[in-house]
Amino acid sequence: MKRVKFRTVLIPAIVLTGIGLSSIYSAGGWVYFIRQLLWFLLSLLFFYLAYRAEKRILITFSPFLYFLAIFFLLSVLVLNHGPVKRWLNFGPVSIQPAEFAKVFAILFLARILAQKKKFSFSLSSLALPSLLIFLPAFLIFLQPDLGSALSFLAIFAFLLYFKGLRGYEIVLLFSPLFSCLFGLSLTSWVIYFFALALFLYFKASITQFLSGLGINSFFGLLTPVLFNNLKDYQKTRLLSFLSSSLDYKGTGWSAFQSKVAIGSGLFFGKGYLKGKMARLEFIPNRHTDFIFTTIGEEFGLLGGAILIGIFLYFLYNLLRLIRGLRDETGQLVIAGGVGLFFYHIVVNLGMVLGILPVTGLTLPFISYGGSSLLANFLLLGLMLNFALKED
């Protein structure tokens, strides 16, 4: 029984990495292929270590790992100069500490939440976990990397949901942030506000309904007031910071070329190594964040649908790990991990398909990038460790 489960998770991950490797070869050539292959071998080692480690030790050392990640996030900000500060260089390789910070935050948060026996939708329960999530998210926001910073919120939402909060409570918790974002445009805010009101009306108590709407109105009104007091150039700065800070050539260009490449793949695709758009340098980051364009162009709707199917199957098997698991820390580690994979997949595909704004997030297992691949397999190892090796 247990062996079957182990395979159902690891095999899709390895298949996805294989698809990634072949696409990286198509989009970036031999150099990137070889490098990613080496990273993959290293990742398997990481996976093995994370899987074999004693759970007790992992839990004991989780605060240490968390603060180590915080330390590296601080060093990234201190050691790098220039507008974008994301990597730490160790000789020929550079590491992106943000990717590992996500994994260690899940582990530490799972421990903190599991220790709390009485957990409710209250300040005393939520204060410490919120702080621990906010700290790395804020450091990553400063890099600036809005996409990765928000991934912590996704992790947090999943953790709280599986810790026992109700869905509407989580919506209520995050609503001020959304209110700020939507507050930048009146129309979008009004739509958001009515949707929220309707949702809370059916789900929440009358007190929560009223206080939720009150807080949201406050933040919704605060945003335009603050925004209008900014100087022109500060506004422009803020808006482009929110939309993208990664691509100096302009996000419209990448998003559009990405659509052309995928669209031109038609139903069956142009065939492996025959994708012209993704191979000629029309698409920036074509082997990293925009790797799906290569797949969409070369394998068409068929290939794209199969890939989405594999991701769905992968998430389904991960979710099944939670079922019947008695150890609460384990449940939460898996829930956080699912949240992270879920967020990455949805935001990356949404970006590449032109539904969501362009942010620099990788497609798990597929995109080129050592830190991302290592962190993903590390996380997978931890999840399987907690799920399958019950004491």
């Binding site: 507008p83 999943f158 949901y161 599986f162 869905g167 100087k231 022109d232 150039y233 422009t236 700065r237 482009s240 910071f241 800070s245 100096y248 050539k249 302009g250 419209g252 260009w253 998003a255 559009f256 659509k259 052309v260 490449a261 995928i262 669209g263 031109s264 793949g265 038609l266 139903f267 012209k276 758009m277 000629l280 029309f282 969409g296 068409g300 709707l301 794209g304 649908a305 989405i308 199917g309 991701f311 769905l312 998430l315 389904y316 979710l319 099944r320 939670i322 079922r323 449940q331 699912v338 879920f342 949805v346 595909l349 949404g350 398909l353 032109g354 539904i355």
Partner: protein, 600 residues
């Protein structure tokens, strides 16, 4: 728990469906359109060049401008034989350039700097040909070549520079020397782009409504402290001389009013490819036209150094205004060497010794106070260090510190060195700007302001790109208002000196001009103080110095003039300084500056 797992799973299914529908829309429903676009690659991304920021003098006159430049480019990948045949009828170009990059999608410039008439003619004859593009780009224009050493120039970016910073295009210009180099980030601006749809023959059909265009952000404008009127005058005063330099500072804040070095080059030369002969001629010019003499020439200061030696003696107490030494009979015998003076002065007091520039007197001052005291004072006044002016490539000069001499003479340097140092000759070398800064310090009673060329930086337009602003942050300690993003705040440091000693030097310098070696700089209306000097040159005729300031009571200008290979300072450098002072204090009528007088 099971319920929560289901909720998450169904959400995932929902997203998968959404993505599938989106994929279906892109690849099946709109697929034909995108396949067409991809097949013809008929979307072209056109870089929209940001014009470089302009540079103005202190009265708001443009000294580095931007004008449109027309050029003809080819996109090698799109060329066909028809186009090449037609093109050959109209223009001739270097075919190698295209053949090397046969597969490039980015345009390659084959003809630059076309006149507007020619551009219109080409447009008529070549329009509609696939792979041919006529472009208008903003390009630098320098109306006044004599500002070359202050402004520098722009030049095509090299391959190595481009490798290092790929936010440039391969054919961009980059600041090379002077202000253009120092303020490159600020002047450069940020390119925009737009996407246009082109038909099968390469003709632009129109903008693509689906994608936003990004407007370029022009570079910021710089306002310099330089005074164009004075620089015009300086250039004409230097007409009889081959090599020299002139710098004027406002001692109250370090603003640079004049920065002139000769010979100079026409900076407009570097905007276009020029024939190799011209390059050979520039390279072989013995005057080294790339050499900014104000910040890079290192010569002995000669007698202009004497006030510093006197100050060192006065401060340390070994010298008094009434001190007298052995009388000058044309020189001074020390050991078995005879050190010369330029004439027999007899017995002098300190003030007259400075006014008459008597070497014999200062040999003995030097012996009395010793090398270390002089060096200490020189270091206090910033000799041997960069002044910190906002120009690249500044030199430090040479100061014969004990450490330096120990290294050079293995610990046993001859005593004669201090005698030479006391009259500013021998091992010491200073740049004109260092010398000017020392006289600023005297004029300001010990206060030294860092020389600075840029008064303020202003936004040229209302669009501010975030990353552009980030790149400016190093330069922007002060943001005053929306248009002026930076105003220079002078920073001073102070050398602690007795006011009495400074007054003494001050009046000695006044005597130099009233009845000493600097008489040619005397003005009846304004009290000028200063000092002449001669830098001994072992390779030819000596270099002439004059450094001075005016008016004595509250100096507003410090002037340093260097004329190379002409002999004595009193004869050649002082008259130039005198004319500059007269113009500065409006004692002679102001020659009007015609904006296109030179360089057109």
């Amino acid at each position: 728990m099971i319920r929560k797992i289901r909720v998450v799973f169904y959400t995932a299914v929902g997203f998968s469906l959404l993505f599938f529908i989106r994929l279906f829309y892109l690849q099946v429903f709109a697929g034909a359109k995108y396949a067409h676009l991809a097949h013809f690659q008929s979307i072209r991304r056109i870089v929209w060049k940001a014009p470089r920021g302009r540079i103005f003098d202190q009265k708001g006159r443009v000294v580095a401008d931007v004008k449109p430049s027309f050029s003809l480019s080819l996109i090698p990948r799109e060329l066909d034989s028809l186009t090449e045949r037609k093109l050959a009828e109209v223009v001739s170009w270097d075919k190698e350039l295209i053949n090397e990059n046969r597969n490039a999608y980015s345009p390659i410039e084959i003809l630059a700097n076309l006149s507007q008439e020619k551009a219109i003619e080409l447009e008529e004859r070549l329009s509609g040909l696939r792979g041919v593009r006529l472009e208008v780009r903003p390009i630098r224009y320098y109306p006044y070549p004599f500002l070359f050493h202050a402004l520098g120039s722009v030049n095509k970016i090299t391959k190595e520079e481009w490798e290092r910073d790929k936010t440039y295009e391969k054919r961009d210009f980059i600041g090379r020397q002077g202000i253009e180099r120092w303020y490159e980030k600020i002047l450069r601006g940020k390119d925009g782009f737009r996407l246009v749809e082109v038909d099968a023959r390469g003709r632009e059909i129109g903008d693509l409504p689906e994608v936003e265009e990004v407007e370029p952000v022009a570079g910021c404008d710089l306002y310099l402290s330089l005074d164009l009127d004075l620089l015009f005058l300086v250039d004409s005063l230097f007409a009889p001389y081959k090599r020299g330099a002139c710098v004027a500072l406002d001692p109250r804040n370090g603003r640079v009013l004049i920065l002139y070095s000769k010979p100079y080059l026409d900076p407009n030369l570097f905007l276009f490819a020029f024939p190799p002969e011209v390059w050979e001629r520039i390279k072989n010019n013995p005057g080294k036209p790339f050499f900014n003499r104000v910040t890079q020439a290192q010569f002995p200061p000669g007698s202009t150094f004497k006030p510093l030696v006197a100050l060192a003696g006065l401060e340390n107490g070994r010298l008094r205004s009434s001190s007298r030494f052995l009388p000058c009979n044309g020189g001074f015998k020390f050991g078995n060497r005879y050190f010369r003076c330029w004439t027999a002065h007899g017995s002098l007091g300190l003030i007259d010794a400075i006014a008459q520039s008597c070497n014999t007197y200062f040999y003995q001052v030097g012996l009395a106070i010793g090398l270390e005291e002089i060096i200490k004072m020189a270091e206090d006044f910033n000799f041997g260090k960069k002044t910190g002016i906002d120009l690249p490539g500044e030199e430090k000069g040479i100061l014969p510190t004990p450490a330096y001499l120990d290294r050079k003479y293995r610990g046993r340097y001859p005593k004669g060195i201090v005698l030479n140092l006391a009259i500013g000759q021998g091992e010491i070398a200073v740049t004109p700007i260092q010398l000017a800064l020392f006289y600023c310090a005297i004029a300001q009673k010990g206060k030294i302001y860092t020389p600075h060329l840029v008064d303020s930086i202003k936004f040229p337009c209302r669009v501010y790109h975030p990353t552009f602003l980030d790149s400016l942050s190093d330069f922007l300690p002060v943001i005053r208002d929306k248009d002026t993003i930076y105003t220079y705040l002078p920073e001073a440091r102070e050398v602690r000196l007795s006011l009495e000693n400074l007054r003494l030097i001050d009046s000695a310098l006044q005597f130099v001009v009233e009845r000493g070696t600097g008489r040619r700089a005397f003005l009846p209306e304004v009290k000028v103080c200063g000092k002449t000097g001669t830098a001994e040159n072992p390779f030819g005729a000596d270099h002439a110095w004059f450094v001075g300031y005016a008016p004595k009571e509250n100096p507003t200008i410090v002037l340093c003039v260097l004329v190379e290979n002409v002999g004595k300072g009193g004869v050649h450098a002082v008259p130039i300084a005198s004319r500059i002072f007269r113009r500065y204090f409006h004692l002679e009528e102001n020659g009007t500056v015609s904006p296109m007088a030179k360089g057109e």
